[in-house]
């Protein structure tokens, strides 16, 4: 790993603090504001709106902390429990629920992985597809050679030269100053989690489509990959 000088370290530290502050503020603002409204709410209908939104934003803050902890051990983290058979189609369906993405087809079978980690990775990849796509993305499956691949095809109307830099922790594109850009951990965390299960995440641009692949070992022969 490249050693950073003091100035570069200061820059990275300041940027991380700034970005984490920005990303935490939205869920915390929402939780505080909604909790205060809930305290005064007498209508059942309003309570039914507020409570799911509170849970959603608390989970979002929790996920951000998970990301930071994964990022802190990105090259060394190892799962503490064994992988199990995971219904990848169900996790994909859950990840795109309520989102603009469409799913075509079915995977060739389940994968051998950690369901929480796969769900977490898919969450980031779906977030990215919605954030950076210029039209709704399509999800499909590929398989073969002991691997199940979740392919996310995201239409874009311009070239994205920095795609590989997205795997660098806390990397955010040049437009991050003026556009919503997230924490900059989605791709590296998704890749780290996939690699812990013997899989990987890749991304490339093919004309007007950004193709993201989440590869995971398939389950064969009754549970062995």
């Amino acid at each position: 790993m490249t050693e950073l000088g003091p100035e570069a370290l200061d820059f990275v530290r300041d940027r991380v603090i700034h970005v984490v502050g920005h990303e935490l503020r939205t869920p915390l603002t929402t939780v505080r504001g909604l909790a205060e409204l809930l305290a005064d709410a007498s209508e059942d209908e309003l309570r039914e709106t507020l409570i799911p939104a509170l849970v959603r934003n608390a989970r979002r803050a929790e996920r951000l902390l998970d990301d930071l902890l994964i990022a802190a051990e990105i090259d060394t983290a190892r799962p503490t429990d064994p992988a199990s058979t995971v219904d990848i189609a169900a996790l994909v369906a859950a990840a795109v629920d309520g989102r603009s993405l469409t799913v075509d087809g079915e995977p060739s079978g389940p994968v051998l992985a950690h369901a929480d980690a796969v769900g977490h990775s898919l969450g980031h990849l779906v977030d990215n597809a919605e954030q950076y796509g210029d039209a709704p993305s399509r999800v499909r499956f590929e398989g073969g050679g002991g691997t199940v691949v979740v392919v996310i095809e995201t239409p874009v109307d311009h070239e994205l030269p920095d795609l590989d830099l997205g795997f660098e922790l806390f990397f955010r594109g040049e437009q991050a100053v003026t556009r919503a850009a997230g924490l900059g951990v989605g791709l590296p965390v998704a890749r780290a989690l996939a690699r812990m299960d013997g899989g990987d995440v890749t991304i490339h641009q093919d004309g007007d489509t950004v193709v993201t692949r989440l590869m995971l070992p398939s389950v064969r022969d009754g549970g062995r990959s």
Partner: protein, 133 residues
């Protein structure tokens, strides 16, 4: 002095659905009507052009067209609508740009009072005894 409108109409522009929900409820509780919502700068311009609200609450970091990019378009196409910038982090760039445009900048947090006071001021209502922060 501007004559205050009988009721204040606001468009809320933020790419976060739950922030829009929160603002809608907080402003409604304060007697301010949220007449439109936008998830990016393009929708913000469209909503203001169509609905001609008194004020737009404008998030600065949004996809497709950011708040920074929407401000000059709003000022040209919707001069009747006053803008208050609403951001999770008010860094030096945002502060400098808003000062240059003479647009108030309010930080997102659970306390909506500073934002509500600013909206009332912009819509022509007198400020209360608290200084706008």
């Amino acid at each position: 002095m501007t004559e205050p409108p009988e009721h204040i109409e606001v468009v809320v522009a933020d790419d976060e659905t739950d922030i829009r929900l929160l603002l809608k409820l907080q402003l409604r509780q304060a007697g301010i009507a949220v007449v439109g919502e936008a998830a990016d700068g393009y929708e913000a311009v469209e909503q203001c052009t169509t609905l001609r609200p008194h004020v737009i609450v404008l998030d600065l970091l949004m996809p497709r067209m950011s708040g920074f990019e929407a401000i000059p378009v709003l000022q040209e196409q919707c001069p009747q609508t006053r803008i208050v910038a609403y951001s999770a982090v008010a860094g030096e760039f945002a502060r400098t740009e808003m000062a240059r445009w003479d647009i108030p900048l309010r930080l997102k947090n659970g306390d909506a009072d500073p934002l509500i006071r600013t909206i009332r001021e912009l819509a022509g209502h007198p400020a209360d005894e608290h200084e706008v922060c």
